[in-house]
Amino acid sequence: MQRAFRTLVALVVGTTLLSTALAGDKPQTPGQLAGGEVISVERGQALVAEGQAVFVDTRNPLNFGKGHVPGAMALAYREKSAYADDFDAGLDQFALERLPGDKQAPLVFYSDGPTGWKSYKAAVLAIRAGYARVYYMRGGWAQWEAAGLPVER
């Protein structure tokens, strides 16, 4: 038990260090979104208050489970394409059909943060699918949590 616990701790620490190292290399998403609007977390919070927009959490469901923007829906973006504007959407999986049918419905996509390409790519795919009001909350969960905005778990 003790030994297992120690191993687990080592594992967790190792993973954290690795992900940090990887994050350092990960490129940031673009600052603009063609056919959509890049918003800050404060704007996102305002949208939540308005109650009109549908927040889409594209992160891994596990992270969603850990905490998300109130009222957000979990719609994981299974990302295999490169972190670039010209990503190959064919490599990825994203269940666009689970988005609201109303193409005029305001959608707010977010993932981990400025390096979270999942929400960017999902927003791009949603625009491509014809959704008119797509918001990309680039600060993502990281900035939302850092700003101390309401969280739903």
Partner: protein, 696 residues
Amino acid sequence: MESATTVAPPDRPRAESRALRPPAMSLRAKVGFGALALTLISFLLLTLAWSSMGRMERAQARSGSANALLVSGEMLLRTAGELMLTQGSLSARNGSLAVARDIEQHLTELSRTDADLSREAHRWSALSAQVDALLSNRLIDVTDDDSLIAYGRLIQGIEGFMPVVRDAKQRADQAADVALHQAAAWLVSGLLGLTALGALAGLTLVKMLDHQLGGDPTLACEVAQRIASGELDPPVPHSNDYPASVMAALEHVRIRLLERRAIEERVRFLARHDVLSGALNRGSFNDLLGLEIDRAGGGAGELAVLYIDLDKFKEVNDTLGHAQGDEVIRQTSRRLRELLRRGDHLARLGGDEFAIIAHQVNGERDIEHLCQRIIESLTEPMTVSGRAITIGASIGVAILDATVADQEDLLHKADLAMYRAKANGRGGYSIYDEALDGSLRERHELVRELRGAIGTDQLCLHFQPIFGADAQQRIGYEALLRWRHPRRGLLPPSEFMPLAEDSGLTESIGDWVLQHACDTALRWPDPLLVSVNVSAAQVEGGRLAERIAHVLAGTGLPPGRLQLEIAESLLIDPQESVTRTLEALSAQGVGLAMDNFGSGRSSLGLLWQLHFRKLKIDRRIVATAATDPRAERVIESIVSLAHALGMRVTAEGVEVDSQLSRVQASRCDEMQGFLLGRPAPDAHPNGPTTAGADPA
């Protein structure tokens, strides 16, 4: 506990301070109270320790529980991960459920005492719900979004919950720590109390043992040393500090030693003293006298020995009995002791002989004064058995001078002086001088020889014939005692009988004379009588009548043929015993003749009362009768007086014819004398009976 023994002033002797100290609590009580207090304290401390041990155990249990909770939280993370990775395998499900149960159980347990935790415990219900939510998924898989979301929620919940658990654990640990320290403190102090109790018990045991074995041995040692050194008079002091047993043992020893000392003193006294009189005995007197002579170192005039002989002791002993004789000895020694000066010694040397060692004698006057006082004291009547008895004493004194060789010599000289005192008349004293020595030595020698002569042929009887008035007819013989002394020749009684009387030999000599005279007379023709002289001592002795009856019965001599001649002097003031004896003799038919009548102070009044049959006129009257006509008148008067009283008269000492004719003219009935017949060793009754014929 012994603070009380130390408050005594240091300058005071220890034993005294101990005795003066007011009685404090006894050792037993002090120890008892101390032990009770210590026991109570220890009991209290141990009870506290016990309860805090309980608290500590509970705190430890909670701490363990909190630890288990923490581990279980982490286990929950792991089992949830396993659940995800194994796609909800049964073991992972059971594990998760078991962990959840554990957590719930520990939480409930901890929440009871931890208010902070119980406030936060509600989080668990959400968390538990999340576990249930995860488990309720139809398919649990890492690819399943719902599973992942539920898993994520669970992890988040656990992470949020863990700090609460950690806090609780920390609090539990702290509480356990505090409880542990408290318990340890109580336990240690309890144990310390127990240790103190043990130490007290040990000390008490040692003290008690010490006490039982004699306590502080100082006083006991002092007392024991005092007893050992012979100081037995002060009793053993009583002290509360010492066990009664030790002091009682010492006291017992002291009493036993005292008793033994008294017995030893008694034994020493008895060994050195005469039991009857309490005076020194002869042995110790001799030793003491030797010592005193040595101490005097030959110095003259310092030391004198008084030899005291009671004059009439023998008579008292013979007539009244030995018990009365003993009483006389006791009273005599008491009187003598009163006269002694400090440092003088009294001894009883034998039957009625006492001796005194007198110190610091200042010349003969001093001694004479002492002797006078002794004689006066002993001449005063003593009361014995309700009867007044007068006992006199004669004293011989010898004063130590250069001529004295040793103690025996000194005592012998005192003895000689005593004999001279007796010879000079009883109730006197005499101081030894050189002149005394020779005469007394001779006298002593003679007594010794006389004693040896009795029963041998040195003593013999001569017989002198007694004639009738016609000077022809022999009536009988007078038996006359003679001593054929080997050096001095034939001695008449007058030369040795006074000695015999002083030496107590009278009776044995008298008995022998009687026996021998009667034996001889038996060989004579019938009417001849034998006349035997009897001394005053024999008559006064009281046994004479009995003795004569015995002799007569033994020989078969008719009593009428025995005549006893009794000196006139005996009858001057006759005692009752004398008249009784004379009566008894007369009753036996023995003839009594009064010897030497007219020589002394005869009591004419007694003449007819005392059964005398005959008067023998003293030879001095007869001797003068030839020349002095008045003497002739005296003889005539005596004869007519005697005849008037029915008595016969014998004339003694008829030596010449003129005397014979005077005597015959005076009508004397009988006569004897050298003219008629001299005393001879044996009588010749068958020979011629006429005057002038010597029986020899």
